[in-house]
Symmetry: C2
Subunit: 337 residues, 2 copies
């Protein structure tokens, strides 16, 4: 382990105490530390998280995604307000690896969820700045843990669906919610391939006015589609619901469905198992990513692997032979240190 | 690159010539070399593949999977015989990481496809012996390349669906075919989560006798389900067909659908792009797997990571801190060499 100076440890102990006591500013400062790329900040963040670890795990962790235009912010605001009405403390986080460094992410944008952002029992934090998905997701996971230590009952983690971000968010959460439009299936509004099967709950939004009947049909279509997929073998079958943020209808049912799903996971012991294996997966994913990053950054390796990528793509070099060359260059560099 | 003795190179040049001329025994010997775990055999295999590389790429690469009981062997035999009737040369390979070392895989089992195994224009090879999925899939990929160099027009790669094997096979193939039962959706016979969305073609088997009407309804159900999923953005939309191996009906339609899909990929340039990115992915996957294997096997790291896995699972240690410790132990070992 990196040897940590005692001043750092003391600072981390105080911050932990503040966070645990519900100090919102202390939480925000901790998250800024977690998100920082600086090595010394990272070391501090790890010490702090070590102190908070035994106080984590107390929230329901919900991942949420949906195509642009489906009404995600509208839904999150209406659903979030419902949760505050029934006495829940809610944190809203985001995973958006494409967010422009200056402009910030459109997710977790408080201006799109003004009423929710003003609620005292709600904490909203935009996505960490753009970067590799792995790094962004990891920081969001640690932010989630900090929020749990701070006493939030529900953590909502949203994503827009860039690349593999849904899979990353599903790997953080207890359950994954997918929002879809009435009518579904259009080129732009259908579900991205690979995502439907991550979902534990599919919600058809905008089930009001002219779209009400269409929403009901779409709900039924998704239920039929899910029936073709083998039950996980364990765990509750995915559900499909409709709701309208505008009319504020269906939101209580959504929370009841989530609670029911969660209770089932808790009583079967599956929630514990799931979280354990998620944590272990995170460990190995972190090892793998950092090892591969070290390899790719190695001076002698970068140029070689670029050249070999081209050779392999052109069919002039076999992938396995190219891999052998890259590994040899890397291990050699290491041996010279 | 590993320096290869000239005797090895000469041997590999001869073998390549034999394979290219259609010598079936030379092909079988080459595959045995590819599958061998011995380092010297591996080196020979890489030289041989290097010689064959410019002669690969000439087959239609089809991945195929389906739940046990769906009638995969029956289908492959009937479909394979149809292909021979229209003048195609067919290789049938398998990816089955769970195959018992002694008993061999149930896939590519010639006794289950006797008639097909006897056809002169057909070559059937069971899965490489049990091992990590990555290693099995890699050897199957190289076997596929050898078969292409040997002049086969179609390579069929089947898998039973253990773990992530469908994803691995989809990563080798131009298109992925999923076989399903009439009625679909049952606990045991529904599609494994994550697989439906890999499919380019879904085939409902056993569309004969009492099941004929049910098969037609199932075909329609899957078509509706696929309509909810966004078109890939590029590439043809997945199709759904029925067939009966017993009546030998629908098989010609299956091949026409595959040809049509393939032609579309070729004319849009997508096939080339797909194969290039598959090859590059294989290179990085190989680098990653061998690097992680080296890490896990490192004496000082194995015990440490086992202990840390338990700590992380128990919530006593954060995944990131544990990863840091594992990486430090590994890089240190490397530096000592």
């Amino acid at each position: 382990m990196t040897k940590v100076p005692s001043s750092l440890e003391n600072g981390a102990t105080e911050s932990a105490r503040d966070i645990l006591s519900g100090d919102r500013r202390a939480l925000a400062r901790a998250i800024t530390l977690i998100e920082s790329a600086r090595e010394d900040h990272q070391a501090q963040a790890q010490v702090l998280l070590g102190n908070l670890l035994s106080h984590t795990g107390g929230a329901v962790r919900i991942g949420i995604s949906g195509s642009p235009g489906v009404g995600k912010s509208t839904f999150i605001e209406a659903f979030g307000l419902h949760l505050t009405e029934i006495g829940k403390r809610l944190a809203v986080l985001a995973v958006d690896p494409s967010s422009a460094l200056s402009g910030g992410s459109i997710l977790g944008d408080k201006t799109r969820m003004e009423r929710l952002a003003r609620a005292p029992s709600v904490f909203i934090r935009p996505s960490p700045a753009a970067g590799a998905l792995g790094g962004v997701a990891r920081r969001t996971r640690e932010t989630m843990l900090a929020c749990e230590a701070a006493g939030f009952d529900v953590v909502l983690i949203e994503t827009v669906g860039v690349g593999q971000s849904e899979a990353a968010v599903a790997g953080l959460a207890d359950l994954f919610v997918l929002l879809v439009q009435p009518g579904g299936g259009d080129d732009l509004q259908g579900i991205k391939r690979g995502v439907m099967e991550l979902a534990d709950l599919i919600i058809v939004t905008k089930a009001d006015g002219d779209l009400r009947d269409l929403a009901r049909h779409t709900e039924s279509d998704y239920r039929s589609a899910l029936a073709l997929i083998r039950a996980h073998g364990k765990g509750p079958r995915p559900q499909v619901l409709s709701c309208s943020a505008m009319e504020e209808s269906g939101l209580a049912e959504v929370w009841l469905a989530i609670e029911k799903h969660n209770d089932a996971l808790v009583s079967s012991g599956e929630l514990a198992t799931k979280r354990q294996s998620q944590a272990v997966s995170w460990m190995w994913r972190e090892v793998e990513e950092r090892l591969m990053a070290a390899l790719r950054d190695e001076a002698g390796v970068t140029a070689l692997s670029e050249r070999l990528e081209n050779e392999v793509a052109a069919g002039r070099q076999s992938p396995v032979a190219a891999a052998t060359a890259i590994l040899a260059a890397f291990r050699q560099q290491d041996g010279d240190k």
